[in-house]
C-alpha cells in the first residue's frame, strides 16, 4: 500500500537526531511492547508479513506522529482483534489496564502454543527464516537490466515507491524466498527469487544526484520486468 511507512525519498522531516548514550528502551511500556510482540509472534497465529502489514494499516497521520513502538503496539492490537483474541471494544472498555478477569476463552487460547519462559531463548535466537529450498527458477541473471514494475498494490508490498518504473541492474541473486505480498494476505508463500538490484542514484533522483552513487534494493521476481 502507498502508506506513510514508505518513506524513502521524502522531504521535510529535518535532520537525523542522535541521542548520545541511548538506552535500549526509553520506557517500561516499550520493553513490554517489544516482549509482547515477540511472545505473540511465537503463537504463530499470524506471520511476519502480516505483522508488518498490520503496522502499515495505522492511519498515515497517526503513523507519522508516533514512535516505532507505538506502531508495534497498534499492529499487535489489530492482529489480536483479527484473530478474535480481543473483542473490538475490549481495549477501550478496560482502558488498557491489565484485565485480571480474563474473558472467556482467553486461558484456553493461550495454553495452545503459548511461549513459556523456557522457550524464550529458543524463540528469540531461532526465528523462522523466509529463505526457501523450493527449486524455483530465477527469472533474471546477474548483470541483466531490469525495470521495477510501476504497480500500486493496496495490500502489503516490499516494493518501495521510489524505485517503481526505474531501471536497475541485477547485482546478485539471493535465492528463493517467501513472497511477502501474498504471504501477508494469507495467500501462500509463492516462492520466488530475490535479487539485490543496483540503481544509479541519478536514475532514481535525477541529475542533482552524484553520478557515482548507487542504491541497492532487494526485490522479488514479481516486482521486476525485463528492460
Amino acid at each position: 500500500m502507498n502508506g506513510a511507512h514508505d518513506l524513502g525519498g521524502m522531504h521535510g522531516f529535518g535532520p537525523v537526531v542522535v541521542e548520545p548514550n541511548e538506552p535500549v528502551f526509553h520506557a517500561e511500556w516499550e520493553r513490554r511492547t517489544f516482549a509482547l510482540n515477540m511472545a505473540m509472534g511465537a503463537w504463530h497465529r499470524w506471520n511476519l508479513d502480516m505483522g508488518r502489514y498490520a503496522r502499515e494499516l495505522m492511519p498515515p497521520v497517526e503513523y507519522l506522529a508516533t514512535t516505532y513502538y507505538e506502531h508495534w503496539l497498534f499492529g499487535l492490537e489489530l492482529l489480536l482483534e483479527q484473530v478474535g483474541f480481543l473483542q473490538p471494544d475490549e481495549l477501550a472498555r478496560v482502558g488498557r489496564a491489565p484485565d485480571r478477569a480474563h474473558p472467556p476463552g482467553w486461558v484456553a487460547a493461550v495454553k495452545e502454543g503459548a511461549m513459556r519462559l523456557d522457550d524464550v531463548e529458543r524463540v528469540v535466537h531461532r526465528r523462522r527464516g523466509a529463505r526457501l529450498d523450493d527449486p524455483v527458477a530465477p527469472r533474471f541473471k546477474t548483470g541483466e537490466v531490469v525495470v521495477a514494475r510501476n504497480i500500486h498494490p493496496v495490500g502489503h508490498t516490499r516494493l518501495p515507491r521510489y524505485v517503481r518504473g526505474r531501471k536497475g541492474i541485477i547485482d546478485r541473486d539471493h535465492g528463493a524466498f517467501i513472497f511477502p505480498d501474498t504471504h501477508a494476505a494469507g495467500k501462500g508463500t509463492q516462492p520466488q527469487h530475490v535479487y539485490s538490484v543496483r540503481f544509479d542514484a541519478r536514475e532514481l533522483w535525477g541529475s542533482d544526484a552524484s553520478p557515482r552513487d548507487h542504491v541497492y534494493v532487494d526485490l522479488w521476481d514479481d516486482y521486476l520486468d525485463p528492460s
Partner: protein, 103 residues
C-alpha cells in the same frame, strides 16, 4: 550505508536493537536520496570521487558494513582493533578512528 526505508529492518543478532535515529523518519526518508547529507550530520565528509552505496533492506536479508581499517593500526592486535569498531561504523554512518584521531 544501510537503511530500511519501509520499516526498520536491522541485524539484531549482531548489533542489538537499533537506535531511535535508525527507525526515525528523517533517516529512513533521507538515507536513499541524500546519503552524503546524512553522513555529514554524522561528521563524515566524503570526497566527490568516493562512491556511496546505500543498501535498502527491503527483504529478509540483513546488512552490515565491514569498517575500513584506519591508518596507523598495523601493529595492533585483534582485540585492540575490535575495541575501535563502533555500531555506527557497522551501519555505515561512521568511520573507525584510532584513539589518536579521536582525541
Amino acid at each position: 550505508m544501510v537503511v530500511c526505508t519501509l520499516c526498520s529492518c536491522y541485524p539484531w543478532p549482531v548489533l542489538g536493537l537499533p537506535p531511535v535515529w535508525y527507525k526515525s523518519a528523517p533517516y529512513r526518508s533521507r538515507a536513499v536520496i541524500d546519503p552524503r547529507g546524512v553522513l555529514r550530520e554524522f561528521g563524515v565528509e566524503l570526497a566527490e570521487d568516493v562512491e556511496v552505496r546505500v543498501w535498502d533492506s527491503t527483504a529478509e536479508l540483513r546488512y552490515m558494513v565491514l569498517p575500513m581499517r584506519p591508518e596507523g593500526t598495523d601493529g595492533m592486535t585483534r582485540d585492540e582493533l575490535t575495541a575501535l569498531v563502533t555500531r555506527d561504523a557497522m551501519i555505515g554512518t561512521g568511520v573507525v578512528k584510532t584513539m589518536r584521531a579521536v582525541g
